[in-house]
């Protein structure tokens, strides 16, 4: 695999190959032009890191992919369908194939509902009855290394890392094809962050069907989690490609600057 730049002569691959396809995507909030001419193909079964500094538009792009942000122009195809053009019912069906995991573990769970109720809603949005899904709930909690007994407790009884596991469990419960994880380790202490990274690696073992977009500002975390990388700056894509290759031989100056800024990295110099 290599970094490929779209060239007109190359045949356009069948839609199914890409889980996310953006063409000339632009997004503005009022007078702020946040995403500028994004062209991107994300293949299935990969974990793709979306990295950049504040104001790069990485979170905005992620939220556009899950349908929280509406794009201003261009096209965005996710799991074979265009969210913006999909009818209400199709859009809701599509929502369940993409799951968004937000950054702040303290606001992503309804404080008034037990963990079982929250997870039951993911299994069955209509009834959300925890009793009829007790086994599945226990199973999904086990997959994020939490005992089944936590199901009856409320979010405020858990630490940030545990809450983030529950948020991941909820995304798993839906059975989505694409996970969009937005800075999910940024609010955590390093040791907890390490646990989440290990959990993600374990969940991914032998799994080629699910795709994940992992947004982070931390390049080292990206390297620990991702296969591919998209580097963004000021609303534009600066560089894309297989992560190890990009880190070993960055093509863009900005990527080089970013890499050299990581404390403990080879290019880091204080004087």
């Amino acid at each position: 695999m290599s970094v490929t730049v779209k060239d007109e002569a190359r045949p356009v691959p069948a839609e199914d190959d890409a889980i996310v396809r953006a063409r000339e995507l632009n997004l503005s909030f009022g007078y702020h032009h946040v995403l500028k001419d994004i062209d991107l193909d994300i293949p299935r079964g990969r974990v793709v890191g979306l990295v950049g500094e504040s104001g790069s538009g990485k979170s905005t792009l992620a939220k556009a992919i899950v349908g929280i942000n509406r794009i201003s122009s261009g096209s965005l195809t996710v799991a074979g369908a265009e969210l913006a053009r999909a009818k209400r019912r199709a859009r809701h069906a599509l929502y369940r194939r993409i799951q968004y995991i937000p950054q702040d573990p303290y606001s992503s769970l309804d404080p008034r509902r037990t963990i079982a109720q929250t997870l039951a809603e993911a299994f069955d949005p209509k009834s959300a009855n925890p009793r009829s899904h007790a086994e599945e709930i226990a199973a999904v909690l086990e997959s994020v290394q939490l005992p089944a007994s936590v199901a009856e407790r409320y979010p405020h009884e858990f630490s940030g890392g545990q809450r983030q596991r529950i948020a991941i469990a909820r995304a798993l419960a839906v059975g989505a094809e694409l996970f969009v994880a937005d800075e999910i380790t940024s609010a955590l202490d390093v040791s907890v962050q390490a646990e989440i990274i290990r959990l993600l690696a374990r969940l991914r073992e032998g799994d080629a069907e699910h795709s994940m977009i992992f947004i982070t500002h931390n390049l080292a975390v990206a390297q620990a989690v991702c296969d591919d990388i998209v580097v963004m700056r000021a609303g534009r894509i600066v560089e894309v490609g297989e992560l190890d290759r990009v880190f070993a031989a960055p093509q863009a100056d900005y990527t080089r600057t970013l890499l050299d800024s990581v404390p403990g990295g080879k290019g880091f110099k204080l004087s």
Partner: protein, 562 residues
């Protein structure tokens, strides 16, 4: 909802409110049955002073004042309940409808409500009273309708806030339908604040419905409520002032009762209200006498900090020292006590925490006592994390950055400005004169942090305490700020106590690293030991292991890897 961890709602004030309200309701139910006769019968005992049989005297028609007040309570309460119900129900319907409406409609409606809310309720009520004939029903309708915008606005805002919350958003993306979203997440989230608001509306309606009767546009003769009774009493205020007492006290009691209930509910919803305060008494001696052989600039011996209602140990007797010109990193995860330690050294520990130490000194200042502000400001400088809030947002940078020089170092405004402008230039800020005139929000985070550092070191302090100074910054900016620290030490020889959760950053900058966990020091390392991974404590090892390392050689072809 788990109530175990929350304090009970039955605090004295709330209980008093409920008792008062129950008493008023009882009066409203019972009084008309027993005393309607003496309240309405016209007798010859006109304008009697208070006395036997007539505790509040009689009015000009010989009716018993106390009986009238007790009977009037029923009509006032009934009218208030009806009007408040209209406001609450109407407000809920309008508020939810606005939230469900398309965005453009919603924004216009919200702006409209904003204006309507600013418009006095009583005047809106007067419009309705002008259309319908004055009377009890009119008063209820008038105030009921006039109260709708206020309740609707809060409902719409609460609904909007819940709708934007991440858990609501996530549930929506699980494919949960609108009805279920409302029942499961929206209504439970709004119930508590709306209940509080409903009691406020009740108390406001009670006051205003009585006001309407008071000015003669509410309840009409021969009916009477508390407001109209108070109005009647005005005419005889010179001759029979006691007549005003009954209705006045009753209105105040009802209003206070509703308010106490509302405050109690609000306090219950906001657990922040329970706090304690037991200030420390500083030691009298502000000068420390270091041992003759102690060359350290900062010396901390057996520092212990306790806090909270249980006086839990937050820092457990730690030792720490910083030599002149040394950069010491203080590392730990959240709750390790690293910031508390640093703030104790700075003499800025919150005064509701207990502090004990055998020794706590910076230079010759005893930080357990209170050295003069000028000495503290000149010898210890502080830099904090910059989430964009470390500068006063309503003043320009100039006056803030020059604050220490002007207040404590005797510079004139001009001299201080000149000194800061030069300092800004040395930390690489372009157009320093312009920056001095700008507001904090007009500068980038990196620029604000450099300015903070420049202002901190312009006085040549002996010690610089930096609490997570680069945590909120982007990596490329972080490097630049770390470089400034590095240069400063080489140029000025300032000692730095550098607090961070990031072992990578600390490893690059510091001479020595102190690792903290749960209020105790677990290990001290030199930079070289840290770089080589020569750690002995398992926690430090785990911490080092947890930090993901970047490896730029993995992508290279097999043969070319180092």
């Amino acid at each position: 909802m788990s109530t175990a961890s929350r304090p009970t709602v039955w605090r004295p004030a709330f209980t008093l409110g409920v008792v008062l309200m129950v008493a008023l309701v009882l009066i409203a139910v019972v009084a008309p049955i027993f005393v309607t006769g003496s309240a309405t019968a016209i007798t010859d005992d006109t304008a009697l002073p208070p006395g036997r049989g007539h505790p509040l005297g009689t009015n000009d028609f010989g009716q018993d004042n106390l009986a009238r007040v007790l009977v009037a309570t029923r009509l006032t309460l009934i009218m208030t309940v009806c009007a408040a119900a209209i406001s609450v129900f109407g407000g809920l319907v309008v508020g939810v409808a606005i939230w469900l409406a398309p965005r453009v409609v919603r924004e216009w409606c919200l702006r409209l409500l904003e204006t309507a809310v600013a418009y006095p309720t009583l005047i809106t009520a007067l419009i309705i009273a002008a259309i319908l004939l004055p009377g009890a029903t009119t008063a209820v309708l008038a105030l009921g309708i006039a109260g709708i915008p206020g309740f609707a606005r809060v409902t719409a805002n609460l609904a909007g806030r819940t709708a934007r919350s991440e858990y609501f958003l996530t549930s929506r993306f699980l494919g949960v339908g609108s009805y279920q979203l409302a029942v499961r997440h929206m209504i439970p989230a709004m119930a508590e604040p709306l209940l509080v608001l409903a009691t406020t509306i009740f108390s406001a309606t009670l006051v205003e419905i009585s006001a309407l009767s008071f000015v003669g546009l509410g309840v009409q003769q021969p009916e009477y409520d508390l407001g109209s009774l108070l109005n009647d009493s005005l005419e005889s205020l010179y001759t029979q002032p006691i007549e005003a007492l009954g209705p006045a006290v009753m209105i105040v009691l009802a209003s206070v009762a509703a308010m106490l209930i509302g405050d109690g509910l609000a306090a219950h919803a906001d657990p922040r209200t329970a706090r304690t305060w037991s200030p420390r008494t500083p030691e009298a001696n502000a000068t420390a006498s270091p041992a003759a052989d102690d060359e350290a600039l900062v010396r901390v011996c057996k520092l212990a900090i306790r806090g909270g209602q249980q006086r839990r140990a937050l820092v457990k007797g730690i030792d720490l020292h910083v030599a002149p010109g040394e950069i010491v990193g203080l590392v730990g995860e959240s709750g390790s006590g690293k910031s508390l330690t640093a703030m104790s050294v700075a003499g800025l520990l919150a005064d509701d925490l207990d502090l004990e130490a055998e020794e706590l000194r910076v230079g010759d200042m005893n930080m357990k006592g209170t050295p003069t502000a000028a000495q503290l400001a000149q010898e210890i400088a502080l830099i904090y994390q910059d989430p964009g809030t470390t500068f006063n947002p309503s003043r320009t940078m100039g006056p803030q950055l020059t604050e220490v020089l002007r207040t404590h170092s005797g510079y004139s405004r001009k001299e201080a400005q000149q000194a800061i402008i030069e300092a800004l230039a040395t930390v690489g800020i372009d157009q320093p004169e312009l920056r001095m005139k700008q507001y904090p929000h007009q500068l980038s985070g990196g620029m604000r942090q450099r300015a903070m550092i420049a202002a901190a070191v312009v006085n040549r302090p002996q010690l610089l305490i930096a609490d997570e100074p680069t945590t909120a910054l982007d990596v490329t900016v972080q490097v630049e700020v770390l470089r400034i620290f590095h240069q400063l030490r080489r140029r000025l020889g300032t000692a730095v106590l550098f607090i961070s959760h990031d072992l990578g950053v600390v490893g690059e900058l510091c001479d020595r690293v102190v690792v903290m966990r749960d209020g105790a020091v677990v290990e001290e390392l030199t930079a070289a030991q840290l770089a080589a991974g020569e750690v002995s404590d398992p926690y430090t090892a785990a911490l080092l292991d947890a930090v993901p390392q970047i490896d730029t050689s993995r992508g290279l072809p097999e043969g070319s890897r180092p």
